[in-house]
Every structure is written in structure tokens, then in C-alpha cells.
Amino acid sequence: MIYIYVILIVLAIIFAALRGLLGPTASDRVVALDNLTTISTAGLVLLGFVFQRFIYIDVSLIYGVLSFVGVLTIARYLEGGL
């Protein structure tokens, strides 16, 4: 059962990275990066369940707190502010 979850998450990472590679404008690539961080957050929690270590969940907590800051900075730069 765990194989299906890992296969789906790896396919999701491949599709998001492909859009980041060939998106026409800068906004498309930032959207792909945002999705990549969110998919990684869920995937790290799932891998922590596979390895059966409680302490590994902290990495995903850091991702959930800090992952939106970089995207927010790039969005403010595109808007013209900062």
C-alpha cells in the first residue's frame, strides 16, 4: 500500500519540476516552486512514517513554517514593491 503513495508523490514531483523547467514566464516557475515545497512537506511526513522515527517530523514542521517566505519575497518583487 505504501508503494502506491510513494509512486504518486514521485510522479507529482516530476510533473511540477517539468512545469518549472519549461514554463514560459517567471510566474509559472514560481507557482511550480510553491507546489514543489508543498508536495515535499507531505512527502517528508509520509517518509517519516515509513522510517518509523518520531524525530524526523521536525523537518516537515520547519518546511511548513518557512517555505512560504521565499515565494512571498519573489511575489513582492514581481509586484514592484519590496
Binding site: 504518486l8 507529482a12 516530476i14 512514517f49 514542521l61
Partner: protein, 112 residues
């Protein structure tokens, strides 16, 4: 036993939504459709996966709930800022008929 079944159903729904969100971001025609497909489906998928792992392993439920709260706060903020920034750079939405841009009229009234 019942926690195991509920957790497996939640993780299945979450990973399927993560895959569908990534497929939507690959297939959609312009930036705003990609934001719509990517952010909403991915937020639901991540929330469902994290809470499902909390159901599968019941000692971890408080930390996974904390991660879910952070995702639910931070993901709409970044998507809103991104949509606003890409509108300000001049990207037009993909539309079949002209004259449907309601945000331009609102912005014109705000300037006045």
C-alpha cells in the same frame, strides 16, 4: 483497527489530490488556471496526507495537527501574493471574450 482504515483512506485521498494538482499545473493554459489547480488541490492533498499519517500513528497526532495548521495558514497567503504579483506584471488571463476583467474596474475606482 478503525483508526488504521480511516488513516489509509485519508492518505489515499491526499496523495491522489497531490498527483492531480501537479497534473493540473502541468496541463493548464495560463498562470491563473495553474494557481487555481495547483494551490487548492495541493493544499487539500497535503492537509489530508498529514492528518492521515497522524491517524495511522496515534502518538504523533499533535505534531501532525501543528503541521496541518501551519500549512493551512501559510499556503493561501503565498498563493494570493503570487496572483497579485503576476497581475501587476501585466499577464492577461486566458479568456474567450474580452471585457471580463473585473479587477481593473475596481482598481480604477480605488485610484479615483
Amino acid at each position: 483497527m478503525i483508526l488504521n482504515i480511516v488513516g489509509n483512506i485519508l492518505v489515499t485521498v491526499g496523495t491522489v489530490f497531490l498527483f492531480l494538482g501537479a497534473l493540473g499545473i502541468f496541463r493548464m493554459p495560463d498562470v491563473y488556471s495553474r494557481l487555481q489547480a495547483g494551490t487548492k488541490a495541493t493544499t487539500l492533498g497535503a492537509l489530508s496526507t498529514v492528518i492521515g499519517v497522524g491517524f495511522l500513528q496515534p502518538e504523533w497526532i499533535w505534531k501532525t495537527l501543528l503541521i496541518a495548521i501551519f500549512i493551512a495558514i501559510s499556503n493561501p497567503i503565498s498563493s494570493h501574493a503570487l496572483a497579485r504579483g503576476s497581475y501587476k506584471t501585466g499577464l492577461k488571463p486566458y479568456m474567450k471574450k474580452e471585457g471580463l476583467d473585473s479587477y481593473a474596474e475596481v482598481e480604477k475606482e480605488e485610484v479615483k
